[in-house]
């Protein structure tokens, strides 16, 4: 089996087979469940309100996915370096690029699992509303690169900074900043600074795409501008992760 695939499976196993990782998944499921249960008592939702709920759910799934990707990304290099499990991996005949690809692959697998677990929630709140299938498609196409991008960013920060703790803190602050459009109201986002930030923020690009497709019934293809922002950021984060990993190797790999 290809070395990258072996490493990706190992990385994914850290979440899916360890009690600690499974506890994270349970926590995420509980968060989504609480959101769903808040809606059960409200039987007067209009279609628009229901579309808003699906939009909010998609945003929440993306935020939780990015949070998980950040935790895994920091642990993949910095955590292993701190625990001492990285040098044995680096001392196998596997090429460094394959190791990094495997680490990224682990994040992709974990997001895919989380996405599959999130589908029943979307179905539960949105199956009789509008644009559910389009919503699932836009979450897959736009949410995935955002989540994976933040995983790469965390991977790079963990490799670059002295400890996994500082890598995690820095990554979480950046994620919180990027996800702030979810918290701020439209009035703040419409300011000059808010709009400028929205333009370069991949998280904002994703939720703007969700808004357009789920609530305004726009087509997925019409969101190409947001897709461009997301893909450019993903490319930059992947490059950053690659450079940070090479820096880690040059400094001894944690030995």
């Amino acid at each position: 089996m290809n070395s990258s695939i072996l490493i990706a499976r190992k990385e994914a196993g850290t979440l899916l087979r360890s009690p600690r990782g499974l506890a994270w998944l349970v926590a995420m499921a509980v968060a989504l469940s609480i959101f769903c249960l808040l809606l059960v008592s409200d039987t007067e939702l209009s279609l628009l309100d229901n579309a808003q709920v699906v939009y909010d759910m998609a945003g929440l799934i993306t935020a939780l996915g990015a949070l998980l990707a950040v935790i895994l990304g920091v642990d993949a290099l910095a955590g292993e370096r701190d625990r001492g499990s990285l040098p044995p991996l680096l001392l196998t005949p596997v090429a460094p690029e394959s190791i990094l690809l495997g680490k990224l692959g682990g994040i992709v697998i974990v997001w895919a699992v989380m996405f599959v677990f999130a589908l029943p929630y979307l179905w539960a709140v949105g199956s009789t509303g509008q644009n559910l299938m389009d919503g699932v498609a836009v979450l897959a196409l736009f949410g995935s690169p955002v989540v994976i991008g933040f995983g790469c960013l965390a991977l790079g920060l963990g490799a670059r900074l002295d400890s996994s703790r500082s890598g995690l803190l820095t990554s979480l602050v950046l994620l919180l900043l990027a996800a702030s459009p979810l918290i701020f109201g439209p009035s703040l986002r419409q300011t000059t600074v808010g709009m400028a930030f929205d333009t370069i923020n991949p998280f904002a690009a994703a939720i703007n795409a969700y808004d357009a497709v789920i609530i305004d019934s726009a087509t997925v293809l019409s969101q190409w501008g947001h897709a461009l922002v997301i893909l450019v950021c993903l490319a930059l984060f992947v490059l950053f992760a690659r450079n940070a990993f090479q820096h880690l190797l040059r400094s001894g790999g944690g030995l």
Partner: protein, 303 residues
């Protein structure tokens, strides 16, 4: 020559860390790398493994440069770092299977079980590594290091966390591996391990090799052979009955000063003497030996 290091100089963060390290390890040898904390032992190992780039000097491992042929070298190399971590959710067989595949080998579960047995590890089925004791983790790390059937084994503090029986078993294992032609680079603070295992040693101090060579030669040259004073409790047999690797240096009333040949464990010498009928009442060590050499070499050296 499995490992050859000549005048190795290495900087980390602009600071010189190694300022002239020399090391030579051949197949069938166990080489002890000694030195106080911060002397540069781990950095030397990192350079041998190709993880750090030398500023000057040469490093050859298995006839290749670790800077350009690291992956080829890693295929024939086993490493047990001082600090080792695992994937605690895995079982030991799963862990070894993963690393075997990363080394490009597919081992049947029977072979993996045999590898675990070699290092004295027999976990319960489905027992995860997270529940292992320190000693079990040490053994598993050694099993991983032996996976590629390496020609060169690098061990950093391998007996940490092992009980006396475990240490004895590890010593026997290492001697057996060396007997099969493997070369072992042993980095340790435990002079007793070095005494029992190593034919050659190198002592580092402040990033520089201060002494290097065969143990017996070094002890002879430094006058640091171990001496013992034996007190007798009865009539002494003929002097010809003295074991051949015990040299008598002086005879006093009721006690003799003796020296044991380098590389021979003292306990073996006493056992032989007892079987030969010598009435040993008390044995006291009187200076000298590897400890003396080490302390002399690492005490207040100028930078």
């Amino acid at each position: 020559m499995l490992v050859s290091v000549n005048e190795l100089h290495l900087h980390r963060g602009g600071t010189p860390v190694l300022r002239g390290v020399n090391l030579a390890l051949d197949a069938g040898d166990i080489y002890g790398l000694l030195g106080p904390n911060g002397a540069g032992k781990s950095t030397t190992i990192a350079a041998i493994l190709g993880l750090l780039r030398p500023h000057s000097g040469t490093v050859q491992v298995l006839g290749r440069s670790p800077q350009t042929d690291a992956r080829t070298i890693h295929r024939a190399l086993g490493v047990l770092p001082e600090r080792f971590g695992f994937y605690d959710w895995m079982t030991a067989p799963e862990y070894l299977d993963l690393f075997a595949r990363l080394y490009g080998r597919h081992l049947a579960s029977v072979e993996i079980a045999r590898k675990l047995e070699t290092v004295g590890l027999s976990p319960k089925p489905r027992q995860t590594i997270g529940t292992f004791s320190r000693g079990m983790r040490q053994r598993l790390a050694l099993a991983r290091a032996l996976l590629p059937d390496p020609k060169l084994l690098i061990l950093d503090e391998p007996t940490n966390g092992l009980d006396p029986r475990g240490r004895r078993e590890l010593h026997d294992l290492l001697r057996a591996l060396v007997g099969q032609g493997m070369g072992i680079l042993l980095c340790t603070h435990l002079l007793d391990d070095v005494d029992r295992l190593c034919g050659r040693i190198g002592i580092l101090m402040e990033g520089r090799t201060v002494i290097e060579g065969a143990v017996s030669d070094l002890l002879d040259n430094q006058g640091s052979r171990v001496r013992y004073r034996i007190k007798w409790s009865g009539e002494l047999p003929s002097a010809t009955m003295m074991p051949q690797h015990v040299s008598v240096l002086a005879r006093d009333h009721g006690s003799w000063l003796v020296e044991i040949e380098s590389g021979v464990p003292a306990a073996d010498a006493w056992r032989e003497m007892l079987f030969a009928g010598w009435p040993v009442a008390e044995v006291m060590r009187e200076g000298g030996g590897l400890e003396s050499l080490y302390l002399t070499m690492t005490e207040g050296r100028p930078t």
